[in-house]
């Protein structure tokens, strides 16, 4: 593994802040490449339980969610970084966020053999245990993605602490980026559904009505069904 990637995983704040000091287009492209490959490989394992075609679709859509989230929030993340006093430019903000997504993508790629193993052992779609298979796949992926996200963000916090020189500023910047990325990312993922693929629905790249409704309405509806 090349040194910048090793520095990323180790959370080597000195080396990372040095890299971030002179952000170049090739650096941005390099991290984007890591995100593309890492999350693409993981995305393939995400859709494999439903069908190979779903795996291919998810391998394309999973990196797309990350890139669209970065793109959609690029401006506001850069502004927040400056308003909150981190001292990061727009380009540096984009690189820092891509760095954390690259860490998550490497972790996800590392877990791909494990999730393939879970897929191999899960009751297949045609079997009586299809619901169990779907639930296990869903829970495994939620756990792995959450783990990758937590680790990636803890690395980003270390970097922000180093650059801003203040724990308070670092936390405020990270929290604002996280809030924005989660808010938009959840909606983009909703629009680009399905990822695992429901056992009862057809395999599609996008649902027939991808822009109808939103993630938050769906959560609200689900809560209403549950409570009332």
């Amino acid at each position: 593994m090349s040194n910048p990637l090793k520095a990323l995983l180790r959370g080597d704040a000195d080396r990372l802040s040095e890299l971030l000091g002179k952000p170049t287009a090739s650096m941005l492209a390099g991290y984007a490449g890591v995100v593309l490959i890492g999350s693409g490989v993981y995305g393939f394992t995400l859709g494999l339980w439903r069908a190979p075609l779903q795996a291919l679709y998810t391998a394309i859509k999973f990196p797309l969610v990350i890139f669209l989230t970065c793109l959609g929030n690029g401006a506001i993340n850069g502004m927040l970084a400056q308003i909150l006093g981190s001292g990061l430019s727009f380009r540096q903000t984009a690189v820092a966020i891509l760095m954390s997504f690259a860490i998550a993508a490497i972790i996800l790629a590392g877990f791909a053999p494990l999730t393939l193993f879970v897929w191999f052992n899960a009751p297949p779609l045609e079997s009586n245990g299809a619901i169990l298979g779907h639930s296990v796949m869903l829970l495994t992926h939620v756990f792995v993605i959450a783990l990758a996200g937590v680790i990636a963000n803890s690395r980003l916090l270390g970097l922000l602490r180093k650059i801003s020189g203040s724990e308070k500023v670092a936390r405020a910047v990270l929290f604002s980026w996280l809030a924005g990325n989660l808010f938009l990312g959840a909606q983009i993922a909703w629009n680009l559904r399905p990822f695992i693929g429901s056992p009862k629905l057809a395999i599609e790249f996008l649902r027939s009505d991808p822009l109808r409704g939103n993630f938050y309405e769906a959560v609200w509806r689900a809560l209403r069904h549950l409570i009332f």
Partner: protein, 219 residues
């Protein structure tokens, strides 16, 4: 360690001074050392496998060792990429080959301990007809062996300057779960079957619950 990594030297270091093995793998890497470690791991698993197979006898005498050795190797293959990533996340500056060597050392230490446990397992395998009891005993003994083995990973973190140890502990849990599931995937290992591999896919916990249910039904 001496210049030539001979089997007695490696064995002695593994049991008495595991830190030396980690040091050699990190600072004086030679292919002979990890190869010996892998050979010990395979030998230990095969030897213990014969004892596992002795419960059912017949073809299980070669099927059980083959499945245990194969399952261990497959688990290593599945988990090695994530181990390297978690090693880096722990702040350890090392190479993939060093991590591979330390994992081989951990597995071979566990396998050596299993050879030590083999007489105990054999006595029980000749004294009971309960598949569930034997499976629980083998899992218990394997767990003791692998826990000692996986302590080497913590040792690696300590010796190579890791700043966060929880990552490797967490990875160890993942490795144990993968090994348990692998043995379910390659079942039966303790009992017998007409087929080499099962046709039905099952998770470890549901297979275990089913085995216990069958055992109570027999009684």
């Amino acid at each position: 360690m001496p210049e030539r990594a001979s089997p007695p030297n490696v064995l002695e270091a593994l049991l008495k001074y595991p830190g030396r093995i980690i040091h050699e793998l990190q600072n004086n890497w030679r292919a002979a050392l990890p190869l010996w470690l892998l050979s010990f791991a395979l030998f230990g698993m095969l030897a213990y496998g014969v004892v596992v197979g002795s419960f059912s006898g017949g073809t299980q005498l070669w099927i059980a060792p083959a499945k245990i050795a194969m399952g261990t190797m497959l688990s290593i293959l599945i988990c090695l990429p994530s181990l390297y990533i978690f090693t880096c996340l722990s702040g350890i500056d090392t190479q993939f080959r060093t991590v591979t060597g330390v994992l081989f050392a951990a597995i071979s230490l566990g396998a050596l301990l299993l050879i030590g446990f083999a007489p105990i397992a054999w006595i029980f395998s000749q004294s009971t007809d309960s598949v569930a009891f034997m499976a629980a005993l083998h899992i218990g003994l394997w767990a003791i062996g692998i826990m000692f083995g996986l302590r080497l990973l913590e040792g690696m973190g300590h010796l190579l300057g890791g700043s966060a140890r929880n990552h490797l502990k967490f990875w160890s849990v993942i490795f144990i779960v993968v090994c348990l599931q692998m043995m379910t995937t390659l079942r039966p290992i303790v009992g017998t079957s007409d087929r080499f591999l099962p046709s039905e896919k099952k998770f470890f916990l549901s297979h275990w619950a089913e085995t216990l249910r069958d055992e109570s039904a027999k009684k």
